[in-house]
C-alpha cells in the first residue's frame, strides 16, 4: 500500500521534505510504516526510535492497522510549552 506521511521539525529537516510517499507491504501497521520510512530515508534511522506515528491526528500503538486514506504523520519528540 502506498502511504503518504507528513514530516515535521527534525524529521522534515533530515528528509528535506514535508511529506514522503512510502510503499508498505501488508500487513500495514504503524510499525510497518515506520520501518518503511527508515528504508526509504536512511537518514531518518537515528531519529525514528524516538518518533511516534499519528494516524488521523492521534497517536497509535505499533500494531495499529493503517487504512488507506488515513492521514499519517511522523511525530518526533515534542518540545512545546
Amino acid at each position: 500500500m502506498n502511504c503518504q506521511v507528513l514530516l515535521f521539525a527534525a524529521a522534515r529537516d533530515l528528509a528535506n521534505s514535508e511529506r514522503i510517499d512510502v510503499e508498505v507491504p501488508p500487513p500495514v501497521t504503524a510499525a510497518a510504516v515506520l520501518d518503511g520510512l527508515g528504508r526509504q530515508v536512511p537518514r531518518l534511522l537515528p531519529l525514528l526510535p524516538a518518533c511516534r506515528l499519528a494516524v488521523d491526528q492521534a497517536f497509535v500503538p505499533a500494531d495499529f492497522p493503517v487504512s488507506a486514506g488515513s492521514e499519517l504523520a511522523l511525530i518526533p519528540p515534542v518540545s512545546g510549552g
Partner: protein, 151 residues
C-alpha cells in the same frame, strides 16, 4: 512555517484554545476565563529564557502540526475541566520566533475554589510537554541551532 488558528471554543464547555504567530495578549484569555461565580484564577506563562547554564539562547522558534496540536490542546483542556472542577480554561501557544523574555505559552484557568486551577496548571504543562505536536528549535547566541528533543 507559522500556521495560525482562531480560538476554538468547544460547545458549552468553557474551553478556548489557539495557536498564533504573534505576541500573546493576555486580555482575551482573561476575559474568557473571568466569571463572577469563580473565586480563583491561576496562570502559567512559559517564556524564552536567555541563559541555560553557561549557554546563551538568542531566540526560540516553534512549529506545530497545527490541526493535531489544536485538537490535543482541546482534549487536554476538556479533561482538565472535569478532573479539576474548573469553570473555564484558555490555552494560547505562540508559533514562529519567540524572542528572549516573550511568552511561548499562556494558560489561564478559573474555578470556584483555588485548589483546582492550581493543580490543573502543572498537569496541563506536563501533558503538553509530553504529547502535543509542537516543536521548538533553539537558536544559540553563537549562530548554531538545533531542534530540542527532551529526554
Amino acid at each position: 512555517m507559522t500556521p495560525e488558528s482562531n480560538p476554538i471554543l468547544i460547545g458549552s464547555q468553557r474551553v478556548r484554545v489557539e495557536l498564533i504567530d504573534r505576541p500573546i495578549d493576555r486580555r482575551p484569555l482573561s476575559d474568557f476565563i473571568r466569571d463572577p461565580d469563580t473565586g480563583a484564577q491561576a496562570w502559567f506563562e512559559g517564556v524564552t529564557r536567555r541563559m541555560t547554564g553557561s549557554q546563551q539562547t538568542d531566540r526560540l522558534e516553534y512549529e506545530a502540526f497545527t490541526p493535531m496540536a489544536t485538537r490535543q490542546l482541546q482534549e487536554l483542556a476538556a479533561q482538565a475541566m472535569d478532573a479539576f472542577s474548573l469553570t473555564a480554561v484558555a490555552i494560547t501557544h505562540r508559533l514562529g520566533v519567540v524572542p528572549i523574555g516573550e511568552a511561548s505559552i499562556l494558560i489561564g484557568c478559573s474555578a470556584a475554589h483555588r485548589k483546582g486551577p492550581l493543580a490543573a496548571l502543572p498537569w496541563l504543562m506536563d501533558q503538553i510537554k509530553a504529547d502535543v505536536a509542537i516543536w521548538k528549535r533553539e537558536h544559540f547566541a553563537g549562530g548554531q541551532s538545533q531542534w530540542v528533543h527532551p529526554q
